[in-house]
């Protein structure tokens, strides 16, 4: 946005006293496009879900911009943050996956993709990709695996993680419902696919109520040993 400082004659030497303070509007390479991503790992499945709203400031650019990208038959990545960096990062990951496939004649495993993403992100340590990533998929044993990242590549394997603009609202709810944190005398039942799906829908509906950047529609990718299935559910569009 151009500065409109100093409208009218404002030469300092003219001495009119009309000089507005000079504003230096610096170019920022980043912007925040919103969105929320969630991943839950189960015994033999993994769910990666994201909303589909793309916003910038007070505007909505698109209602159909999902943030889950399929990488392999067993791995899905969700990227939120700055949409430009999300696109470039997923392009780089897909290229590296192809390179790996050609050199090693096998598909990259979920853990290997996570480790590779960490080095890709760190290679831009001093000009980071403004992306919050969550990788969800099945590991070599067929169990669900979720890896969450920060923008410069620190990562960790989890059972469930929320990332993006509504992450601070969703994560405590998941801690309570899936991790049974802060609950006493509760039986720790393992999570079934149906319960996980219902939880994901409820949790995103709640997020859409309270976060302006989350809404429009919810896209869910379910990763099982039979492949990746997708579902779309409508959310609040306001």
């Amino acid at each position: 946005m151009l500065s409109t400082a100093g409208c009218g004659l404002s030469l300092p030497e003219a001495g009119y006293g009309l000089e507005a303070p000079v504003q230096h509007h610096r170019f920022s390479p980043y912007t925040f496009n919103g969105g929320t991503v969630l991943a839950i790992a189960g015994e033999d499945f993994c769910i990666v879900a994201s909303d589909t709203r793309l916003s910038e400031g007070y505007s909505i650019h698109s209602r159909d911009s999902p943030k889950c990208y399929k990488l392999t038959e067993r791995t899905v990545i969700g990227c939120t943050g700055f949409h430009g960096d999300c696109l470039t990062l997923t392009k780089i990951i897909e290229a590296r996956l192809k390179m790996y496939k050609h050199s090693n004649n096998k598909t990259m495993t979920t853990g290997a993709i996570a480790a590779m993403l960490s080095t890709i992100l760190y290679s831009r340590r001093f000009f980071p990709y403004y992306v919050y990533n969550i990788i969800g998929g099945l590991d070599e044993e067929g169990k669900g695996a979720v890896y969450s990242f920060d923008p410069v590549g620190s990562y960790e394997r989890d059972n469930f993680k929320a990332g993006g603009s509504a992450s601070a609202m969703l994560q405590p709810l998941l801690d309570n419902q899936i991790g049974f944190k802060n609950m006493q005398n509760v039986e720790h039942v393992p999570l079934t696919l149906e319960k996980a799906l219902q939880l994901v829908k409820d949790v995103f509906i709640s997020a859409a109520e309270r976060d302006v950047y989350t809404g429009d529609a919810l896209k869910i990718c379910i990763v099982t040993k039979d492949g990746i299935k997708e579902q779309t559910i409508q959310l609040r569009k306001d």
Binding site: R26, M99, Y122, R125, F127, P128, Y132, D150, P151
Partner: protein
């Protein structure tokens, strides 16, 4: 810890062509990197780095590199991690591969860096892949960006049985607790541990690189690398990036032929040996408990581990940015092992009665 001034580096930093910053910036439009980079996960606050003289203009490479003029004293650094796997995909690859590459690769391979094929050698200085945006960058971007406190408490101390290490497990991004289950102790080889404080990605990445270096050294010299050598490798690696905003405060703990070894290395360039350290935002609280019990802890390994656990629990109690669970590890002559893993909430019930 009092900050010590680093003596001039004993090795010669490669001389890169220094462009006069005045002329470089006068030609370009004044676009400055104003927007703070995204808050990333950090494990502890370290003293803010002073603004270093801005580094010379570097081109931003993504992907395969063109071979560069080789200067003596090239250092193993990040570029080799990325370039090694991308080398085959470089457009110049078949032409660049040296003609006098030894036919019997393992036997004839000379041991010094000059014998390494050009394609595998690293260019001098911090690798260009980590370069700044073309308009330059600042170690401390303006705005609320990186001034936020992050938190951790890690400690380690030497006993006659080895080195006892204890860490908490909280990682914060601003005031949001990003994770309560971070592993802040990273194995370096089978006989050494490195603790993590500061930026989580920085610690994880550089320690992994040092682990790789240590492994290569072990294979070359046919004996395990010493703690002093590993800490020197790490210190020299991060010193190349001094002033650029890395945040790393790590303790290297191990057992080598000189007995227990403990070094503190940080991104300011400090590398000190010592008998006991606590690092992080909760370190003062941990020192209070640690110093009082050090003499008694030398009695037995269990006493040492209990002292370490108590010190971390105390720090987690008083420091808002430390918490999660306490992990106690021990490094002895036969290697490292995890001693215990307790949730701090349970420990506090036990200690505060």
């Amino acid at each position: 810890m009092p900050s010590t001034k680093m003596a001039p580096a004993p090795f010669s930093l490669p001389a890169s062509p220094l462009i006069n910053m005045a002329t470089a910036t006068s030609g370009t439009t004044s676009v400055r990197f104003a927007h703070a980079p995204p808050p990333f996960r950090a494990v502890c606050a370290l003293p803010l780095t002073k603004m270093a003289p801005r580094p010379p203009h570097r081109r931003h490479f993504v992907g395969a590199e063109f071979p560069s003029p080789q200067l003596p004293g090239s250092k193993m650094a990040l570029a080799s991690v990325l370039r090694a796997e991308l080398a085959e995909f470089s457009p110049n690859f078949p032409k660049n591969f040296p003609k006098n590459f030894p036919k019997n690769f393992p036997e004839d391979f000379p041991d010094d860096s000059e014998g390494i094929p050009e394609i595998l050698r690293d260019p001098p200085g911090p690798p260009r892949v980590l370069a700044a945006p073309p308009w330059g960058f600042e170690a401390e971007p303006e705005g609320p960006g990186l001034q936020i406190l992050h938190g951790t408490t890690t400690l380690a101390f030497k006993t006659p049985h080895g080195v006892t290490v204890a860490v908490d497990s909280r990682a914060t991004a601003g005031s949001y607790i990003a994770s309560q289950s971070v592993r802040k102790v990273l194995p370096i080889g089978g006989r050494m541990l490195g603790t993590m404080a500061g930026g989580a990605a920085d610690c994880a990445f550089w320690q992994r690189l040092v682990a790789r270096q240590c492994r290569v050294q072990e294979l070359r010299n046919k004996e395990p690398v010493s703690v002093a050598a590993a800490s020197k490798l790490l210190a020299n690696l991060v010193y190349q990036y001094k002033g650029l905003g890395l945040s790393l405060g790590t303790m290297l703990c191990g057992w080598d032929k000189r007995g227990p070894g403990l070094y503190y290395v940080d991104s300011e360039g400090q590398r000190v040996a010592g008998a006991a350290f606590a690092v992080g935002s909760g370190s003062s609280y941990a020192y209070g408990v640690l110093d009082r019990g050090l003499a008694a802890a030398a009695r037995s390994e269990e006493a040492a581990c209990e002292l370490a656990r108590r010190a971390i629990a105390q720090a987690a109690h008083r420091d808002a940015y430390s918490g999660g669970c306490v992990r106690v590890m021990h490094v002895g002559p036969e290697g490292w092992r995890e001693v215990s893993h307790h949730d701090i909430a349970e420990l506090q019930e036990k200690y505060l009665e």
